[in-house]
Point group: C2
Chain length 353, copies 2
């Protein structure tokens, strides 16, 4: 079935405040033979299963998500709206071998979603083919047009931001887990994505680290706009206020998000900033104090709800001891959202209070 | 005289860490009838007089800098290397009426330098004409390619950063005045520009507020690289750590600049953030405390050298009273660099100590 332009209105993401992705997806695994390169596909399977109809791969591929194998045309018949490139490769380029699949997807009526460094529109012939087919090429690394400068004006609704002692230790997963758990409690809650994987999972967001510095706070304001009183936005944090390169991203996100409360994410045992042995990790206490001091500019009553510990490297009893010890030391809830349990329920209570 | 491509090697700014502008300039005033729109031209006359050979304007113009009136060809004969658009207009566009002058400049062997929002390369035919003539079109608002992420690695040389209680109150002028005065004292000092006017004045720099958030600290590191022990970089600050929109720019500049000391710039009487009446101005004391707290991440011994007061709205005796009062209150030097005097010499002593 050829889906034609008139059958569904094309969302005009370029006029929106945030990227809005066409869903559900068909996951494309390319010619991947190393599961490590297919992290995006696995993340989508695990966190956005309702928005994935299946996978497609080239004959050379050995990696699989275990989902139904569908051609682009079969996927379109099952309701897919886009082929999502769920695999990376060294260099972030899109190999020639993948091109026939991309053209086939457009022909089948699918948009294409990519988070790779190479722009889809730079690929020879793809832009023209998309235009002819009336389809979109969505580069998730590109911020939407029309970003505005932050105003710092107070707004309604509740907002929770995940912050961290470092990069890459669970800020996205924590925000996803908290948003889902609040929804299960019947709370009107949204996950707000600020990185490319989060955006693909939630279907919308702003890649905040690709925004020009002057507009970071404004982008965060647009990402979590004024909302009704009972509504919660759970915002995916980025970087760390103690990171010698990425602190500006974290600060703009903090100022623009105007959070009522924040959760500090930490990985027990990490002693230095990832990839930079000259910089020691700050303590959780230091992160709380600095986040409050700086966050008060736009959110005068900002407070810490608790701590999210990434205990993936520990066994169950070791993890529970660590969680208990951190909670006792700081006098606030601590939990590993992936492990859940009573500790996580207490963290959620603190977020809602 | 037609300056041909072989007569001077073209600087390859696109391969450099910072923008490097062709100088000296011919200032172009367009058809300006309002001196307020020619601020850039006046700033260049006042701060970069050695690098300006004259001015050129259309017959409709009534504004003048008082410099010699030269056609592009006459300017080239006097050694000019570029026509610099020294005038703005509402909307930041380049009117059709200016185009013949731009083509004439290229034909006379001049590059073109612009800080307007409209890109020179987007003007019909100008890119091709520049390529044919072997000339450069330099958009000062565009950051150079090849920016890297910050490392936070300690580097040699001394660095002074100007910070502020707000935007637009003298951070550029203070940095310029301090760099010049240190040079007069025989110190090996450079002004490092981070905004478009500063870049035009000094002939090089990085427009830091146009840099993607992830790269702001890295850009600041590249702008003020490791230097010999006796060398001082005096870095133009941007925004304020207490600004709800621009604090990320200020923080990245602080972390990347790794300053040994900083000067707080303030305008007495200003009570609220420019253009945002909901935000009170922080006190100078608060700015000092926060700059030290955050700056220590990359510059452990960071300290405040003193305060630069913009007393342009005061008469002489009022200004001197204010300068004295602030210096007494804080126990550190305070001065208005534009007024100079003993107070300014004390501020310079503190910078050098």
């Amino acid at each position: 079935m050829m889906v034609t332009k008139t059958e569904r209105p094309r969302p005009r993401a370029e006029e929106n405040d945030v990227l809005a992705l066409p869903r559900p997806y068909l996951l494309f695994l390319g010619d991947a033979t190393d599961a490590g390169f297919a992290k995006t596909a696995f993340g989508l399977r695990d966190w956005a299963g309702d928005n994935v109809v299946g996978e497609f791969a080239l004959p050379e591929a050995t990696v699989t998500t275990g989902l139904d194998f569908l051609t682009p045309r079969e996927a379109a018949e099952r309701g897919a709206k886009a082929l999502l490139i769920g695999v990376a490769n060294a260099g972030g380029i899109i190999p020639l071998a993948w091109m026939p699949t991309l053209f086939e997807a457009l022909d089948a009526g699918l948009d294409i979603v990519s988070g790779m460094h190479a722009r889809l529109t730079d690929l020879p012939g793809l832009g023209e083919a998309a235009q002819t087919a009336g389809r979109r090429l969505v580069d998730v690394r590109c911020p939407p047009a029309g970003l505005r400068v932050g105003t710092g004006a107070r707004r309604t609704g509740r907002r929770i931001l995940t912050v961290g002692t470092d990069c890459a230790l669970g800020k996205k997963y924590t925000a996803l887990a908290v948003a889902r758990a609040l929804q299960k409690r019947g709370v009107d809650a949204d996950f707000r994505a600020t990185g490319q994987t989060g955006i693909m999972i939630s279907g919308s967001g702003i890649p905040i680290d690709a925004v020009v510095a002057d507009f970071v706070a404004g982008a965060a304001e647009m990402l979590s706009p004024a909302a009704p009183d009972g509504h919660f936005d759970v915002i995916e944090g980025q970087g760390s206020l103690f990171h010698p390169a990425y602190a500006p991203v974290s600060l703009g996100l903090l100022h623009g998000s105007q959070p009522d409360s924040f959760i500090v994410c930490h990985q027990p045992g990490r002693t230095h900033i990832l990839g930079n042995a000259s910089y020691s990790l700050p303590s959780i206490e230091e992160v709380i104090a600095r986040t409050v001091a700086l966050g008060q500019l736009t959110s005068p009553a900002i407070r810490c709800s608790g701590v999210s510990l990434n205990t993936s490297g520990m066994d169950e009893s070791e993890a529970l001891r660590e969680i208990e010890a951190v909670s006792m030391r700081l006098g606030i809830p601590a939990a590993d959202p992936i492990r859940g349990g009573v500790a996580f329920e207490r963290l959620l209570d603190a977020c809602q209070s």
